[in-house]
Symmetry: C3
Subunit: 451 residues, 3 copies
């Protein structure tokens, strides 16, 4: 009896290790979170291209990857639980085979050119998409994607909103390849025979090819010959014959004027109010260019949770927020709570999430470009904390600044209004303007600590 | 100390068994799921009438049962977590006593006749409902339901959307029966006296009857005499005096023409766009007849998750989907993923759920009729994978078919376009048309494996 | 090996104690819940001011407290998981420093006077709020709050709907105090220098004051001199210069006529249909006065989950509901389920939640006033179970009453229609009307058991 009890406990111990290790994982992450003070350290809002994506399909012609769940990274991102981010890359002259998924997608082309075809029961719509073009692919719509270019890779990002489960979606491929079986093969022989009004051997020969020695496709991304691409492009209907209303056609982020633009940076943005596809998602979409050495001034989004995807270049991002309060039932005044700092070095393909209300600043260390999905965008405002325009601090009356800050009202006001640029500024102004004594630029900040 | 530690561990062991058994339950279910290849085997989308309902009330005159939670059956149904399905059956000449619930209900009569009365503070609405009639009962509305028929049982299905908790709802009965106490008895004596401006003994005598020897009702479903039914039907107001707008009146699924109809089947459907009550739920409601030996061609719903309730007859259902991917961070190409097959033999009172985007085919083995609730119906389309009309496969251009399937473009196109019927076809066409060599019907498929 | 195993188990034991104690907490609470029969006992819907709030900030000038999570109190409140309740109190002549939060707030002034300023990038809006005034503060909006009164404390309640996480929100303070660091101090030195186009020592001097010996504010609530208040009030713009549309201005609960009013009580209510700010939240807001000895007749809300906050006085509340069903797969008729009774003695600052469809009655033992947030208010109705008007029971036809209750149809109808008052009545009617034999008032009910 005693032995049995020990064995039971031993069994329990083994069963528990799984859940225990999960707890450890969490506490380790939290530990790192609270010490996130130096650049490039792990922080819950930074998803590196190398280690945060899960590969769904991969062969010599390209891959499909999905970013790990936002809501499992941090409790602070729990309201992103209904969203996933998907990356698709393919080599020149390739085709992503026809399939549908149980998720709504908002697709954006980052680089390269794509020919996207949406197949509907009453016809097709084929679109040529350049970088900065976006298109909604509704759940259940069969689509395929061609990279027709002879030289350039295609890179596409999709924000996914799954239908059956908040976190998971499935791709349903029509054809059998080495990567997966056609879903049609799931139906029994007699259902297929009655459905196609044909003998099973003919169905098998045409659709599955199992017994006929014809080599299957290596995977869901396949190579096309120039002739095949020519044929498929020929098939592309002129836009006048499109069956979907213009509301459902692709839209170009850069077709509008940038909402901010100076020599340090440019911001293109389309809001839900301006586009019906974005209204369905309640998402804004933006594209930002920052010049080398440019600084995107500290700002926060009032209600939008913003997922940024780095397209080109490198930058340092700084995000700040209050340390999480334990919210204990203690009456005593706790010691002063320090601000939490979340910093990361961003480079191509990285993802970074800016929670609503969290102030952020981005310092481009090379010519930098990123796309952003602003989730929960309705009525969201971008509030700047410095600069000439949209600066929420400059609207606080002097009498309130006086009691809020240690400096005199005049001094604080002077400081807040000193920066004459807006939105994007030079991160090292002294190099242009002659500088002022003791002023350190970002590149000299480490040396600066030795002074 | 050692003994105490062992005892603590023993205690922990016992405490753990509960949660451990839950884990076992899950892993066993998943195991079955992944091997779900033969007919009638357990699969997460099939809810048999015998083992998937929980009885809330039951006596000699009828019962109320609730289906187990969808979201606890499978992660693939997690987005159904806000819905429950309720079945009510009652014998001829009975009354379900007045009550309200903390859930919105969409009620559909499957068979028999019902007199439904909704009680509002400003008046009553009484409706006679035939099979195929549907009516919303808003949360908190007191209602009662009579089966006035002299011979036929009444069978009603309600889709419930609870208000206080996503998964649970409660029924609040006004009267005390052997099954439960009146909720009015929860108030203290002096509150009741002040509320009714009466002595407690008079309240008790009139409403609860506890001390007066008058036998309580046996349960919440009670027998009515012919005279009582006559009195209650007399009370039914003519429809001109109804206090609710026509938007809130019952609607009849079969009042419109079927959207599909041929000799193998018929489909009646009302979408949210056509009915304000369905718009509140964002649900479509449909009723489908399939002739004996008829096949409802393989199809999928683009965004709707469809809960079907079998009304009459028997059928084999086949649902297919991609095997769940582990989504590991592996770079190597995994071996080909097989399709997952979910099959079941459906009979009266069974429930089956079709997740969005999952292809399904239904083969009636006897005259078959079912109702369906299409949850998340807005913009959902029914895409067929075979047949003349609404066949999404027939819209894929030949050049794409060519690279997608092993057969030549011509052969694949020919196969896809061979079936001249739409929606419903004969599952054993060779018996009518003379058949073709080697073709097996469903009844001979087992024998077929011996050839 | 054996020793290691024991140690591992010991470790597991320790790790488990945390989760086990949580389970114990739950089972104890449930136990109390099911026996909640006597006044003032713990019940899941009652949140006492003393033990249910978590202090976020507290100093000699006031405090900010947040109520514990509704959804963690009871499964029956799981659909309140997106809401938190915040209480703010401050002494005369004080300022709550400028900050923003990642939550939408619906603010209501319970007592005292407040000057509320919303800071937007394009200007300010300052409002003087009296008791009964309400105002939405959108997520991300910087605001500050002055108690300008020379004598009276200010008490404010905010219903919070967090943006990044369903349960948690954070306050972002601009200034560094003993309670917390300014979030601006989270940015690195060079980002701050470039943003403000100034040297770090000047920024530090003006905004953080760390090295200059100027004593920091003691906390986020600070004292103001009469002169400072005069200056800040001078700054208050006349209402004609307001930059937000009148839709976004504060609204006064008592500006409309009460919807119920007699000598025993008064109810003021604004519904989502009447106010765009409430429409955003889908919440109704109400204020109720009950005279000493008055009874708010038993009633329930059809779809709204109502959070009441006691402003002044004392009352006994009685809430009733069906006992939770185990929902086992048992075919046998269970024994009669008793009603569950949830009672509490309410006093100032207490919170009580009334789930949708649960009947409730409130008996004021002194002059009683409370505010209420009705969550999920759209189409919700207040159904009374006694009284002359809006009494849902009086609409049930006599023939149905006859079979529902043990008394004869005539007797039951007579009882239901006896109470001639509506909504609010005298809880001890016999003292006014001369009483009737054997009738006990609430104050004599204990003595009554000795008769």
């Amino acid at each position: 009896m005693m032995g049995a009890r020990i064995q039971l406990l031993h069994l329990l111990g083994i069963l528990l290790l799984a859940s225990v290790s999960v707890s450890f994982g969490t506490s380790i992450r939290n530990h790192q979170e609270s010490e996130g003070n130096s650049y490039s350290e792990e922080n819950p809002f930074y998803f590196s291209s190398d280690s945060s994506f899960l590969t769904l399909y991969k062969n010599q012609y390209g891959h499909i990857r999905v970013l790990e769940r936002f809501d499992q990274r941090s409790k602070r991102l729990e309201n992103l639980e209904d969203y996933r981010l998907v990356e698709f890359k393919s080599k020149p002259q390739t085709l992503l085979l026809p399939h549908h998924a149980d998720a709504d997608f908002l697709l954006v082309v980052l680089s390269g050119r794509a020919i996207l075809t949406l197949v509907n029961p009453d016809g097709n719509d084929t679109f040529i998409l350049e970088p900065g073009y976006a298109q909604k692919i509704p759940a259940g719509t069969v689509f395929y994607l061609i990279n027709p270019d002879e030289n350039e890779n295609l890179r596409v990002i999709k924000l996914a909103k799954p239908v059956n489960n908040p976190h998971k979606f499935q791709n349903f491929f029509l054809s059998s390849t080495e990567a997966q079986q056609s879903y049609l093969q799931g139906f029994s022989r007699n259902i297929l025979e009655a459905s196609f009004d044909s003998e099973f051997k003919d169905i098998n020969k045409a659709l599955f090819g199992e017994e006929y020695g014809k080599s299957k496709q290596e995977g869901v991304i396949v190579e096309l010959s120039k002739e095949q691409i020519r044929q498929l492009c020929k098939h592309t209907k002129p836009s006048s014959s499109k069956t979907i209303s213009s509301e459902d056609e692709p839209f170009n982020l850069k077709s509008l004027k940038p909402i901010y633009s100076n020599k340090y940076g440019k911001l293109y943005e389309i809001t839900p109010k301006k586009n019906p596809q974005l209204r369905d998602f309640n998402i804004f979409l933006s594209n930002t260019d920052i010049s080398e050495g440019g600084l995107y001034l500290p700002h926060y989004y009032s209600t939008a949770i913003v997922v940024i995807v780095v397209n080109k270049g490198e930058a340092k991002v700084e995000l700040v927020g209050p340390r999480e309060q334990e919210q204990k039932q203690e009456e005593e005044q706790e010691e002063s709570r320090k601000v939490q700092k979340f910093r990361a070095d961003l480079s191509e393909d990285d993802v970074f999430v800016i929670p609503a209300a969290y102030p952020v600043a981005i310092n481009a260390t090379s010519k930098f470009n990123f796309f952003a999905f602003g989730i929960n965008a309705e009525n969201s405002e971008r509030n700047f904390l410095a600069g000439e325009k949209d600066n929420v601090m400059s609207e606080i009356p002097k009498q309130v600044l006086e009691v809020t800050f240690p400096g005199s009202g005049e001094n604080v006001e002077k400081l807040i209004k000193k920066q004459k640029e807006s939105f994007f500024v030079d991160a090292q102004p002294q190099q242009e303007k002659g500088g002022y004594k003791g002023r350190k630029g970002p590149l000299s900040s480490i040396l600066g600590t030795l002074h």
